[in-house]
Point group: C2
Chain length 541, copies 2
């Protein structure tokens, strides 16, 4: 027998092949657990049967407005039921969901609406000032549908119909067109665009499906998690968790206001088992005052990206019932695609060692394929010595389809058959990668590379420091020198000399900041520190 | 923008597309947890790094023998390290793994070796009598490699080289050919062939990958399960669990002898968290004598297919720390593809009600697509009334590629775009399906359908009954009447009149057996009762 026997009369057909799509999770969960709690939002409760019906009504109402395969539907909303439903209702029609970053300003939103050519825009009342400004600037005005969410504060209605009325006009029995190809686009997520215009990252059904399962597998989530939405759903489609929670028949606890008080309240009241977020969410948990805290007695799994907590914070969190898993990814990788997988034997190490191990970005998700640290030009992997810097590269099914209408950027991002993350790091002997910096954040002083992340890591270990950012200041003699911007904890105090001395005690001297600026550190909507805003200030520091 | 924007310059490439294959789990787990325990087998211990190396050596050694893409490599083995490694090493070369049912006889094995055109056969010493007989009958003799497993009892070496020596000749750095298409065959599993010759069910990499994750998701498995191999790996590739356990970096506890004593010992000694099996495994657990039991203090998850336990057994198991999940599937669906998903609110019901709910086959796996009960001819779904009988149909990515070299059977199995299971059942209002019988096992008496499963369900509730099988006896007046074959528990006794009366107390009278035969009930290697052996006997009962 040649291999032909295994390829003869054994073709794909309707019985044995289905395009992968996370949309398949919703009817399955609604069939199996129709009465189970799907969404909690303030006083509101929705079952899985209700969410399934509402998503179909949304899809039907959009289809009646002419929305069809390959159209873009944008949404500007905090984590609300409408935002969750849009993750199913919009792609059900064959359209592509474009979630908008709620912290952007009018011109940025206008750019995105124009570039993505949104035909419909769903928008939360509270965010109407930004949208109103954006709509004055767009070349083509989309159909605007207001989400008049009960707990929204202020704002006004801008569109032609309110969301609930809109979906009431849809058909609860709606069935969308069959997905012809799992490579079709499901969503469009713009990068934060710290330099130049943002790029539109396109996700496909296959990748969203796999990453939805990948989250469950890599995080060891069981059935029926109670997921607290501290992570914005606009951010990489909430790292694909709307689809994960649906696959697991869990409960989504929405949260319009992400602050210490509401986080603790929701954990205690709804017995939340899981939450994710940027370091700012960790800070809210750690720095909560006594009056902001509500007691709870179960363990909460926390998945955090970007900078993991320093040892003292990690220890405090563990004592309080939070178990932290550190992950890493980019908009281009559907959110996290690398996890700092924990070894049980590390539980016996002291907390400083644990924190250092946990701070590493880690190893690929089970559903990711390749991960390497390599020379940025030759793509030759660096030695696994924990020292040699290189660029981080990924490849596999949870790397984006590409950038919308930007063939050049797509080509560059995928040059050599790997996705170029733009992040710099090292590869440890045990296969774990550790980020050292973004390419553009590295500081080159006297010909030596200084990792701003390394310096910040030391600053975070200082007990008075709440946030720290280190950027380059141009210097005639050294080329560049590091400058630290530090935001102190409420009530804490520290002098510049004290901070510098602390750095000298813990770092090679050439890496120590030459100046320390005490200030509120600017952060993006997703809690990332906006270093580009600090570079100008550093020049005069 | 037309949909073209989402399909322009956004093609698949090496950076963003990878063929799905469960083989990818092994290097990932070996990288992340190299020293973690992968396999326990008697006194033997293998880490994930070792298993990865051994699988590559096996692949390399096979490649050196000329094994290449599309070839078949067969294996006849209990659950041993070699059997586990073959699930990776064989398909790594591009070849297809054909696991042989160890309970078959020489002629049946010879038929399979010829039909599958195995080029290499790995065979365990203990099973050499069957293989010796088979090799005398085959048209083309494969290269035979002996597995001289330490704990094997008896038998002799038949081949040209022993497994350990064979893989020692392979290259630990072997890298196989890239998988060009996830639709390529990964394994070949023959049906039990109760009528005529067995059919060769072909699995592909995509389906094996998805079902491996599907097991983890549907069963709510976390990271690092300790999986006790009470299920034969030859059976549907151990329901894809070799790949699941690898993805989760768990531990495989091998078990050559599946009996009560060894099951309890392994659970206690290795803190096994999960096991699967046919009802016979449940019987071993439940009917174990005091001396066969070893105490343990943790909960063990048990996944069982075919008949779930009656209420009394279920209650006893729950008291002893076993939590039972009931699943259903066929060789053609990679093992289980339907799960009797549990609702927490059912915990409050009495044990009889729990047992009845659990006995239903359930709802599709998250990774499965369609499941319906429908008219066998028109494929029109039956009403969800829990009463109307129809055939069970599935479709989706965990339905086989088809039958090897049997286009006619493949075409018939997939007629109308659904896989025809041949099982009969009803559809309940809550979407759960419940099997009533195999088409060929239904008894038609006076024009009324009698489900042999229903009658057996009542018999199993009788305290003296260990195994029960009900088949049709031809009858001049009624067409057919039911006859019960009953195997009593050790030490238990019951009369025919008593059994019949018990049935009349619990069933419509026309469904009650007209005769009861007390005998050992014949079972297949996987614990299924062989009704076809009883039909002849029924004629004279």
């Amino acid at each position: 027998m040649s291999r032909q026997a295994y390829e003869t009369d054994l073709d794909k057909n309707a019985a044995n092949f289905q395009a992968l799509t996370p949309l398949s999770f919703l009817p399955r969960t609604a069939l199996t657990f129709p009465d189970r709690l799907a969404v909690i939002h303030g006083e509101r409760r929705l079952s899985w049967a209700q969410v399934h019906e509402r998503a179909r009504r949304l899809a039907s109402a959009l289809a009646k407005r002419g929305i069809k395969r390959g159209d873009t539907v944008a949404i500007m909303s905090p984590n609300t039921p409408a935002m969750f439903e849009a993750h199913f209702g919009v792609p059900m029609t064959g359209a592509v969901l474009n979630t908008l970053n709620t912290r952007l300003d009018g011109p940025a939103i206008a750019f995105i609406l124009d570039h993505g050519e949104a035909k419909v825009l769903l928008t939360d009342r509270e965010l109407s000032p930004i949208i109103e400004a954006a709509l004055k600037l767009v070349k083509t005005r989309p159909v605007v549908i207001d989400i008049d969410d009960m707990p929204a504060a202020g704002g006004k209605l801008l569109g032609e119909i309110e969301y609930e009325a809109f979906i009431a006009g849809g058909d609860a029995g709606y069935v969308g067109p069959a997905l012809a190809d799992e490579w079709e686009a499901i969503s469009l997520n713009y990068t934060s665009g710290t330099t130049g215009n943002p790029k539109g990252v396109v996700y496909h059904h296959r990748g969203a499906y796999l990453n939805a399962l990948g989250n469950a597998i890599s995080w060891g989530m069981g059935q029926h998690p109670v997921y607290l939405w501290t992570l914005p759903m606009f951010h990489c489609n909430g790292w694909c968790f709307p689809w994960t929670i649906t696959a697991l028949a869990g409960t989504n606890v929405c949260l319009r206001r992400v602050d210490s008080r509401h986080i603790y309240q929701a954990i205690a009241e709804h017995q939340a088992t899981h939450l994710s977020g940027a370091p700012i969410v960790m800070q809210m948990i750690c720095n909560a005052s006594e009056t902001e805290r509500t007691r709870f007695n179960h363990q909460v799994q926390v998945m955090t990206a970007a900078a993991p907590p320093p040892a003292s914070v990690l220890a405090a969190m563990q004592r309080q019932g939070f178990k932290v898993t550190h992950v890493y990814g980019l908009t281009e990788t559907y959110g996290p695609c690398v996890v700092s997988a924990w070894h049980e034997e590390w539980d016996g190490l002291d907390i400083e060692q644990q924190a250092r191990l946990k701070a590493r970005q880690g190893v690929p998700y089970e559903v990711q394929d390749g991960l390497m640290v390599a020379d940025a030009k030759t793509l030759k992997p660096v030695p696994r010595d924990g020292e040699t810097m290189g660029e981080v590269f990924m490849r596999g099914n949870i790397v984006m389809k590409g950038y919308l209408k930007n063939a050049k950027a797509t080509r560059e991002a995928f040059a050599g058959g790997w996705f170029h993350s733009g992040d710099l790091g090292v590869w440890h002997a045990d296969g774990y990668i550790e980020l050292k910096d973004r390419s553009k954040d590295i500081i080159i002083s006297g010909g030596e590379n200084i990792s701003s992340i390394e310096v910040e890591g030391v600053l975070y270990r200082h007990p008075a420091v709440a946030f720290a950012a280190v950027v380059a200041k141009p210097d005639e003699k050294w080329g560049e020198t590091p400058v630290a911007f530090v935001e102190l904890k409420p009530g804490a105090s520290a002098s510049e000399a004290e901070i510098v001395q602390f750095c000298r005690d813990n770092l090679a001297h050439f890496k120590c900041p030459r100046a320390v600026v005490f200030t509120e550190v600017p952060k993006t909507s997703t809690g990332k520190i906006q270093k580009f805003l600090l570079r100008d200030k550093a020049k005069t520091a």
